[in-house]
Symmetry: C2
Subunit: 216 residues, 2 copies
Amino acid sequence: MTRATAQETVLGSLRSDILTGRLGPGDQVVQELLAERYGVSRVPIREALKTLESEGQVVYFPHRGYFVAELSVADLLEVYRLRAILEAEAIRQAVPTLGLDDVEALAELMAEIESAAAQGDIIAMTAANRRFHFALFDAAGLPRLSRILHQLWEATDAYRALYFQGAENRDRVAREHARMLSALRKRDAEALVRLHDEHREHSVGAVSAILAARDR
Amino acid sequence: MTRATAQETVLGSLRSDILTGRLGPGDQVVQELLAERYGVSRVPIREALKTLESEGQVVYFPHRGYFVAELSVADLLEVYRLRAILEAEAIRQAVPTLGLDDVEALAELMAEIESAAAQGDIIAMTAANRRFHFALFDAAGLPRLSRILHQLWEATDAYRALYFQGAENRDRVAREHARMLSALRKRDAEALVRLHDEHREHSVGAVSAILAARDR
DNA sequence: ATCCGACAGATTGGATCCAATCCACCGACT
DNA sequence: AGTCGGTGGATTGGATCCAATCTGTCGGAT
C-alpha cells in the first residue's frame, strides 16, 4: 500500500472544508492555521492551494495570500451557461455508447443519492449526486471535457451544500433524476438533454436566491 | 514597482521552454535542474509545476515527478472539438458588443502577427496570434469561458510553434485572418464563426500530421 | 480633522536540509 | 534465460528557518 502524499490529503480536506462552509467564501486561507489543523507543514498546503487556485476555488494575490472565491451572480450564471453547453455535448456523445450494465450502474448511483438524502447526510448526498452525473458525462469518453466539467461543478461547491439543505430541493432532485433515468433507458438523448437542462435551471434558480440572500 | 514573485517568473520560463521545445513532450521535468537554470530553489518550481499540471501542460505522478504532457491524436481532436463549441459561443456573444475602436484594435493586432511573421520570429508570432484571437474571445465578457479557452490553447502550445514553422501555413493564416476581419467589420457573427471553424480545421489537420510524423 | 510616514505584528515567499520513495543495476537462485 | 531480492544513486516530499512584503496603528505635521 502506497501512502497518499500530504498534498493530496490536504487537497481533499480543503475541498471538504470549503464544501461544508468551514472555510466560507471570502475568507482568507491562512496557511499556518491549516498546517496546524492538518498536522503538516506549509509546503503541502501551498501546493494544494495552487491546485485549488487553478480550479477557481480560491483566488491568489501575491504576498497577500489565498482567499476562498466568492461567486457573483454573473459568475454563477456563466458557470451554468457553460455547463449547459458542455453537458449537452457530453450527454449526446455518451448515450449511444451506454450498455445495459451502465444504465444499471446509474440506477444504483441514484439509489445511493436517495439513501443519503433519507438519512439527511448532505455531504454523502452531494458526493453521490456528483458520482451519478459524472458517471454519465464520463461515458462520453472525452477526458478533457470531463475535467472542465469537474472544474465548473467545483466552482459552485461552496453553494451546492446549501441547496441540498432544503428538503423540498432534495425531493425535486429525486423526482428529476428518476425521469432522467427513464429517458436513459429509452436511449433518448434529446429528452435527456432537455431534462438535464430543466434540472440545472431549477438549481441555478435556487442557488442564486441563496446568493442574493447572502449578499444582502 | 512591485517585483514579480519567483514562481511567476518561473511559470513564464517554463511555458516558453515548453513552447520552444527545450522541454519536449514526454520529458521528465527535473526540479533540481530547473532550479539551477533559473537561479531559484525548488519550492517556486514546484508551485509553478502545480499550475501547469492543472492546465494539463504537464502530468504528475507522486514520488516520480512531473513530465511534459504528450498529446495523443485523440487528445488533439478533443481539444479542437471543445474549442469549436466554446469559441463559437464566445464569438456570438462578442460580435454585437464590438465598437469601431475594438475592431481597429483587432486590425492592429493582425498587423502585429504579420510583421512578426515577416521577420520569421515564430515566438513573437504565436504570442501575437494568441492576443488577436483572445481579444475577440475576451470581448464576450465571460471570464470563465476565456480561462477555459486559454487552457485549451495552452494544451497544444508545444505543437503550435511547429505549425508556424511552415511558411505556407503562415501565409494561409494571414489570408484567413484578413477574411475574418472583414466579416467582423460587417458584424456578421455567423460568417465569423464559419471562418473560424475553417481556420481551426486547417490547423488541426496540420498539427495532427506533425503528431503522426513524430510518433512514427 | 486629515494626511503622511514610521513602526510592529502577522503572513507569505523562498532557501536549505533531511527523510521517503523510486529506479536501474547486479548478483544469486531456479 | 528468466525471475527475485537487495543495494546505491537520483529524485521527489516535507519540515524548518529566515527574508520580504503587507497591513493596521500611532504620532506628528500641515
